[in-house]
């Protein structure tokens, strides 16, 4: 009797381990293969959406790894980055119908808006994104000094940090609403011509650009974390903050650079997103769910995991459109989040315990 029950329990454990380990990877491979073969167009779009999400998720996971809290302001700060880019390009402030314009913007640069090849934007956009990255890095460091560092000094609980970030999220969104109004914005108006690619894939060149930039940025983050002294110190701090201190690693510097990298990625991700979607203040909050789903799926604190996790979320969301209403996209991200929390809470790359 008991031996039978034991055997059953043993089998169940083996099954659970399989589902949580190789099973999950097989599931992801199946999803990607199926999507690539039968929904090629949606699959490619999913990869593009996913690669933008990935830049957000990587930042989110880095901040979690070093500072140990989920940054609920991440999506809204991404939007702030996108709006800063918008402002730098056009100089536009305040509501749509009665825009106040400071009268200068990067678009006024000589030939600044002249389209680069098939892309819809000129070099002014590239400059604007780079500057926006600097602005967001400064904003993030400012927020750390103002909000998070005092909490750290006081030894506050993780929940306090998360709630504080939620407060920042609301404030940022309100600020965007006040400054740029509720109406949707675009960087460049007009029709974007699409190109035909093999396997009946139709893509705008902007979308190809988005994916290339996202992959390059992810690669740079990888090189930074695994090849530079600073990156190794960030990983060390994330592993064991006390031992990092004992080793003489300057923890203030680690935190500083984490915000610099996280903030820059926010601005780049937000601006890339706005390149193909209408810019709205509330977009940031909607981003939060897929961002967290990607980061948790990959394993919180693991940038390589966040990249894969976000791609999975992007592909799953887009491919779902072939079967259910596009309105369910957030539900897809939510489903992934719940599944991973049930099956393997530490995520694909997370360490045991």
């Amino acid at each position: 009797m008991s031996t039978y029950a034991d055997r059953l329990r043993g089998n169940l454990r083996v099954f659970n381990e399989f589902v949580a380990g190789p099973g999950l990877w097989i599931l992801i491979t199946l999803l990607f293969t199926y999507a690539a073969l039968f929904e090629t167009q949606l699959f490619v779009i999913g990869l593009i959406v996913g690669s933008v999400l990935a830049l957000g998720s990587i930042g989110l996971t880095l901040i979690y790894g070093v500072l140990r809290f989920g940054n609920f302001a991440h999506g809204d700060l991404m939007m702030m980055g996108a709006y800063v880019t918008f402002f730098l390009l056009n100089g536009t402030l305040l509501g749509q119908r009665r825009d106040t314009n400071i009268g200068v913007g990067l678009n006024d640069l000589p030939a600044g808006t002249e389209r680069l090849g098939d892309l819809t934007f000129g070099y002014s956009f590239l400059i604007a994104v780079a500057l926006s990255a600097v602005v967001l890095a400064v904003v993030c460091i400012g927020l750390d000094r103002l909000v998070y560092r005092p909490l750290r000094r006081r030894g506050s609980a993780i929940v306090t940090f998360a709630i504080a970030s939620l407060g920042i999220a609301f404030s940022v969104r309100a600020l965007l609403l006040i400054i740029w109004g509720p109406d949707p914005r675009t960087y460049v108006s007009g029709i974007h011509k699409a190109q035909h690619y093999p396997f009946d894939v139709v893509l705008k060149t902007d979308q190809v650009f988005i994916m290339v930039v996202a992959i390059v940025m992810a690669g740079l983050v990888y090189l930074l974390l695994f090849r530079t002294k600073l990156g190794k110190a960030m990983r060390a701090y994330s592993d064991n903050p006390d031992l990092a201190l004992v080793s003489g690693i300057n923890t203030d510097r680690v935190i500083f650079w984490t915000w610099v990298i996280g903030g820059s990625l926010m601005a780049i991700a937000g601006s890339l997103l706005a390149l193909q979607a209408n810019l709205k203040p509330e977009l940031g909050f909607q981003l939060l769910l897929p961002l967290f789903a990607g980061a948790i799926l990959g394993g919180l604190g693991k940038p390589q995991g966040a990249l894969i996790g976000a791609l999975v979320v992007g592909v799953a969301q887009e491919v779902s459109v072939a079967y259910i209403s596009a309105g369910y996209k957030p539900a897809v991200a939510f489903l992934i989040l719940i599944l991973i929390l049930l099956i393997r809470p530490r995520g694909l790359f997370g360490d045991a315990n």
């Binding site: 190794k232 110190a233 592993d239 031992l243 080793s247 003489g248 300057n250």
Partner: protein
């Protein structure tokens, strides 16, 4: 005045420290002379780890003074101390599990990168076990190998004094022997050692001098041999 007297390289005097409102140490003093190996023994909760943490600037000293090579280093931050020639190996969680062995050692030299290659060579020759596994994650190492890596990380700046918190805790007898052999070797190459141990017998046999700490106060001190033979110590900690 007498030139036969050895020079203290590390001197903690009348240290008062604690957590929150509570003082754990009520004026503890220890001294490590140049090239010496000194043990602190004492029962659970005596304040041994607290003393090391205070010396290393992880905990504020509320009273007393710490001197390294004559210089006042009381309450100096760890990133300063490692530059002054002090290193510390905590009792638990003393490696970075998701970093490779090589990266762990590199972190030990974070504040000073010159001569990195020679220092790495020295650590790898002290602990040949680590050499072939330098690309592996530290989280995969056995308890003994972790302890070797922890020692290696602390040696990366070639410290004058090494603070070790229970280097032999939860290791197999064979591994304890090996670790102590290595610590002795490090000491014989000129590094002063201040180590905390529950395993009083092992520690006193390996060290030159010893201190017995209880309830946050100095109880006894002297030559390690004489402490081993001391009846009180024997009764309290050696189980004889």
């Amino acid at each position: 005045m007498t030139d036969t007297k050895p020079v203290p390289v590390l001197e903690a005097k009348d240290i008062v420290a604690g957590y929150g409102e509570v003082d754990i140490l009520h004026g503890v003093s220890v001294t490590v002379h140049s090239g010496e190996m000194v043990a602190i023994i004492g029962p659970n909760g005596a304040g041994k780890s607290t003393l090391l943490r205070t010396i290393f600037g992880l905990l504020d000293a509320r009273g007393g003074q710490v001197r390294l090579k004559g210089e006042d280093i009381t309450n100096r931050a760890p990133d300063q101390l490692v530059l002054c020639g002090l290193s510390y190996v905590p009792q638990v969680d003393n490696v970075f599990p998701s970093l490779t062995i090589l990266e762990n050692l590199e972190m030990g030299a974070f504040v000073r990168q010159d001569g990195l290659a020679e220092r790495l060579d020295r650590v790898f020759s002290l602990f040949p076990d680590l050499t072939d596994r330098r690309g592996e994650k530290a989280g995969k190492l056995s308890g003994g190998q972790r302890q070797m890596l922890a020692l290696g990380r602390a040696l990366m700046l070639d410290p004058d004094v090494l603070l070790l918190d229970e280097p032999s805790a939860s290791l197999s007898p064979k591994m304890v022997e090996l670790i102590f052999d290595r610590i002795n070797l490090i000491n014989s190459e000129g590094t002063g050692i201040l180590l905390v141990e529950q395993n009083a017998n092992e520690a006193l046999s390996a060290c030159d001098r010893g201190y017995v700490l209880a309830m946050g106060e100095n109880r006894l001190e002297g030559e390690a041999k004489s402490l081993l033979d001391n009846e009180e110590v024997g009764k309290l900690y050696l189980g004889t």
